[in-house]
Symmetry: C2
Subunit: 443 residues, 2 copies
């Protein structure tokens, strides 16, 4: 590929999708990058630029002449420009803004003023707006004239003079209407919109719920300030899902891809929860120390502690993950608490009894008969199996209740997932175990 055959390389690149071109560029040695980039036609160059990693973008910008930078910036959609500006160091941002034309600069600054993670920060201000008294034919004409640099022309918004949002009309509706139809009569006047400060996660959920291609963003006075398109909503969904996974595994969420996060950064995101969980295990130590005499009297019990706490943890995690996912998909709400608990109790009884029965057989056949573990008497096996039923019951109850309570007090239910629940369940399991042992074995 690198035999100075730039003309043929160019011919290949222009037929490719910008995402793939960016993928190829990422693999190239850094010093070739500016040269390769200059091979691309203007529009593809801008699209490719958007798809590259921030490091490569910065490198390119530093290599650009002011004129080249202006060419790229002019081709960008304003929401992509904002994403890039947010990742760059201050001096690069200054250069970008200096090259942007005044209108673009104003729009970038407009979007930058919204807090991260809200609708305002992911919207674009490049949309097609129409007037209610236009005819369908006029509207199509207007789209043809002004639509070239708009992010979408398929969903257009109808506003009054004061920018108040009064309706929505799709290009589809316009095309299938008579040219003389007045927008007022063919537009959708009950428009679902979001406020600039709405949380981006709930915005993304609206896209999955309503299958919109775009959603208008309005300010407190219902004035249209921007739109969010479905591709940005998908990115938010992926981001928020990754955050949920991370929180559920006891990690602070990071917005960088795994391999691009430094070792120190990863350590910082992981160690706090490990510490908290480790220190809270002091409780399990105390329980075990408290029952030291019981343990001494029947040392066979020790061997089954990890199995019981493990099964408890797994049972609890199953319930909690099911409920957390239900909450985040909107399938479960706090008002369903009773139904959820009642369901989990019945599932827990079924699971607990199944596990206890299998475990009893296993203890008798494997531990007593095959491994000749004399300590595993029928009574000890009974203790283990009775504890098993109670443990699964408690674990499932705790597992489904904690996320619901977190939701109620406006905490993210995801933080109540597996690691946290395992710690709670460990303590409960041990106390149950020794109480059952005392009752059955009289120790």
């Amino acid at each position: 590929v690198e035999g100075k055959k730039y003309a043929t390389l160019r011919d290949i690149l222009v037929t490719m999708n910008a995402v793939d071109v960016a993928g190829i560029f990422e693999e190239m040695p850094e010093e070739k990058l500016p040269l390769l980039f200059r091979l691309l036609p203007k529009e593809l160059a801008a699209e490719t630029f958007v798809e590259m990693e921030p490091e490569a973008q910065e490198l390119l910008i530093r290599g650009f002449s002011d004129h080249e930078l202006k060419e790229v910036v002019d081709e960008l959609y304003v929401d992509d420009a904002v994403d890039i500006v947010e990742e760059m160091p201050a001096n690069v941002v200054k250069r970008i803004l200096r090259q942007a034309d005044p209108e673009m600069r104003k729009m970038i600054n407009e979007i930058l003023k919204y807090p991260d993670d809200c609708a305002g920060s992911i919207m674009t201000t490049e949309y097609v707006s129409l007037r209610p008294n236009m005819t369908a034919g006029e509207a199509i004409q207007r789209i043809r004239c002004t639509g070239v640099d708009k992010e979408t022309i398929y969903t257009c918004y109808v506003t009054e003079n004061n920018r108040k949002l009064v309706g929505m009309v799709s290009l589809r509706t316009l095309l299938f209407s008579e040219d003389e139809d007045v927008l007022e009569n063919i537009m959708e006047s009950n428009v679902i919109s979001v406020n600039t400060l709405e949380d981006q996660e709930s915005v993304a959920q609206m896209f999955t719920k309503y299958d919109f291609a775009a959603l208008p963003v309005v300010d407190q006075e219902n004035r249209l300030v921007g739109i969010i398109t479905v591709d940005d909503a998908i990115d938010v969904l992926q981001e928020e899902t990754t955050e949920d996974f991370e929180k559920m595994a006891g990690m602070a969420p990071s917005d960088k891809p795994y391999l691009r996060t430094g070792v120190f950064e990863t350590w910082k995101s992981r160690v706090p929860w490990l510490l908290i969980l480790m220190l809270s295990a002091t409780l399990t130590s105390m329980v075990l120390t408290g029952y030291e005499t019981s343990l001494a009297a029947c040392s066979a019990l020790i061997a089954f502690i990890p199995m019981l706490t493990g099964t408890g943890g797994n049972s609890g995690t199953q319930a909690s993950v099911a409920v957390i996912r239900g909450l985040s998909l909107g399938e479960v709400e706090f008002s369903d608490t009773f139904r959820v608990v009642w369901k989990e109790i019945r599932v827990a009884v079924l699971c607990g009894v199944t596990l206890a029965a299998c475990n009893f057989v296993k203890l008798m056949v494997v531990d007593r008969f095959l491994l000749h573990n004399e300590g595993v008497t029928v009574l000890v096996a009974a203790v283990i199996c009775v504890t098993m039923v109670f443990t699964v019951l408690c674990a499932k109850a705790v597992g489904c209740l904690l996320p619901l309570l977190a939701e109620r007090i406006h905490l993210d239910p995801a933080v109540m997932a597996s690691p946290f629940i395992s710690t709670v369940v460990d303590v409960v399991t041990l106390v149950l175990y020794f109480q059952v042992a005392r009752a059955i074995l009289h120790i």
Copy 2:
């Protein structure tokens, strides 16, 4: 709302989005449903019908006259019709197909023949196809004539007489071209398409990667057979994410919402993994039994077993979840194994040392000084803290390696998540613990 004021109710409903109408209908008593449904205008009725739960749909269909059923079916997009048909019992399916017009029936059967979870099963066959020798003006005219019942008119596909896919052109391009431009010259001829049998998850990932609004589906001979639109891709993404969450918590994936899954069904999806993990804990029991004499010699060690295995499990889960998510987002590949392991080792050393240091202080201050636990000598604390470092190291290594290996042998990496890793790490931790104890305490 129920004061027989059907006319006003109708006026309110017609302004609403079909998703919200369906939401309201779900809350209504079953016997009112057919009556309410008949209030809706034809198009809204069909859209609302699509958004309802299968139970309600079946109820409605059973209440419909043949004529009413035909009206609804005629308004449906073919991919929605397929979704409904897939959920209905055989006799209802027969009635639906009998009312569908022959073309619709043919399309439904066409899609039904593809296996579940592949591109063919989520596509629709209602797309706009154009010819390469048409002009932009002719193309727009054709869209206006034939587009009304197509799922999307914004992305159109250019095919030759034999249905071979030769290009793609967006309505946007058409509108911004001169009327006389020939499609051949303005279309995108390097079309990214998927095969009918492609896995639906990788199709969905293509949408997130390329930000497409629609993707063409072709057969082995590159003949266009259908398209997949972005809203269907989002549904697949949500579904696959839920499956990942479920697998990672040791549950068999279910495609029903949490509250609509029966107790017995939930039990069936959860108990197998619990059983496997419980039985595999036989290993930890064997380790504990094997070191019984060491434990008897220094009973203080027992109290810290849950803390060590818990911290190991949590550390391993963090690494595995980070890698699993990286794999599913395409940020990490098997070829990155060395980089991943090297990163995790360094993170593990940092985490292990931090945890061990904090733990040593805690053991000395809380356990020895505050709780007067005489068994916790400096040497015992040293055993615990040295084990901690090794445990975190092993757990992180196992945690990042197992998902990568699973990927390599074409297993879903998600099944290697927390419960499985905890079980492996438990055994490793215990062996480490007693080996360190023997070395330091000479027991």
